[in-house]
């Protein structure tokens, strides 16, 4: 079975609205950065991560960490699948021309470099948390950050420093 048709109650005090208020926009932007600006993929992945987190109910101790981890796992799978079938669009996000330069630059980074840079410098997460979300080690995250900063500084200007 490729897709399962599960529907969940998305209302209620512990439902979608509360989780969305808690993590929604930040998580969505983190996945958007990770996906190099692919809004379609981002919407799908974030909705799916919310679905799985809500389905898990009280079995999840830290919903915020869980939904981030699930979203990044799903996004990585989808990017790998899109890469295999050469489905990555040339222009990923056409509804905000002001961000074209940024997304062009971000797409020159690997997905892990993009995610590490966004989570560190915009979401302000510590390196250990980023490693946990990306299923990586702190050392690897530092290397992703270093490489990501270097590439962005070369493309967009600024310093490659902490």
């Amino acid at each position: 079975m490729l897709c399962k048709g599960v529907s969940v109650d998305v209302g209620g005090a512990t439902g979608f609205d509360e989780l969305y208020e808690e993590v929604g926009p930040r998580l969505w932007r983190s996945i958007l950065a990770f996906a190099g600006g692919r809004r379609d993929l981002t919407d799908d992945v974030v909705a799916e991560a919310f679905l799985r987190t809500l389905e898990s109910g009280n079995n999840v101790r830290d919903r915020r960490a869980y939904v981030y981890r699930v979203a990044f796992r799903l996004a990585a799978q989808e990017l790998a699948r899109a890469s295999d079938s050469s489905q990555i669009p040339e222009v990923a996000m056409q509804d905000d021309p002001g961000l074209t330069e940024l997304f062009d630059a971000l797409r020159s980074l690997s997905p892990c470099e993009r995610a590490a840079v966004y989570l560190r410098y915009q979401v302000d997460l510590p390196i250990g948390k980023i490693a946990d979300i990306l299923g990586s080690s702190a050392g690897a995250v530092r290397v992703h950050l270093f490489r990501g900063r270097r590439k962005l500084a070369a493309l967009l200007g600024g310093m490659n420093d902490e």
Binding site: M1, L2, C3, K4, G5, V6, S7, V8, V10, F16, Y20, G24, P25, W28, R29, L32, A33, T42, D43, D44, V46, A47, E48, F50, L51, R52, L54, L74, M93, D96, G98, L99, E101, L102, A105, S110, C112, V117, Y118, Y121, Q122, S137, A138, G139, A140, R142, V143, F146, R147, R149, L152, A153, L155, L156, G157, G158, M159
Partner: protein, 197 residues
């Protein structure tokens, strides 16, 4: 200020479509069931492996019957050439290699260690006058490009003067590569992993 950090912050101008996400959520999952997705490839792999094993046994049986003088089948192939280390690597085999890094270059581009034995590689980085306050790290990879998929072990990025210590689990014999990912063009080399004998 119009640098990469400023532009990255501009990403926060984008807004998700909350109602679109809610609708997608109400429609249910469009993604493969994670349990099924893990199970299906595993069943396929087991099936293919079983068929290959039966075919190989049949071929060996036929070959053995057609060569009455043969006492044993021919030795199996020993693997692709690219993973084979030379019998005698071009540099001495050491138990705990010490690698110097002066400026942004290693002092050698060749290391050799024994297979299947945990080994510590130490980089003595930036102890010379004028070479301090540079960042260093060490990666060991199965591929010369040292892309993410090929990275076997790595250290944190450290500012010199510092000893960068990489603990490697026992590796299979073969040819590997090492680099400082901060200075990959100038600081890199080949790591030969050879059998003890």
């Amino acid at each position: 200020m119009n640098d990469w950090r400023h532009q990255l912050a501009e990403l926060d101008r984008t807004e998700p479509d909350r109602e679109a996400i809610r609708r997608r959520l109400e429609e249910g999952s469009r993604f493969p069931d994670p349990i099924e997705a893990r199970r299906e490839p595993r069943i396929a792999v087991i099936t293919v492996a079983t068929v290959i094993a039966i075919a190989a046994m049949a071929l060996l049986f036929v070959a053995f019957r057609n060569q009455p003088g043969a006492s044993s089948p021919a030795p199996a192939a020993t693997g692709p050439a690219s993973t084979m280390a030379p019998a005698a690597p071009p540099c001495p085999v050491t138990d705990s290699p010490l690698l110097g890094e002066a400026g942004v270059s290693f002092t050698t581009d060749c290391l050799a260690i024994v297979a299947h034995r945990p080994t510590t590689i130490t980089v003595k980085a930036g102890f010379e006058p004028g070479n301090d306050r540079l960042q260093h790290s060490l990666l060991v990879c199965s591929d010369k490009d040292c892309n993410e998929a090929s990275q076997i072990a790595g250290t944190d990025v450290t500012t010199s003067p510092a000893l960068v210590v990489l603990n490697l689990q026992g590796l299979e014999p073969g040819t590997y590569f090492f680099e400082d990912p901060v200075h990959p063009v100038t600081a890199n080399g080949t790591l030969y992993v050879v059998d003890e004998s």
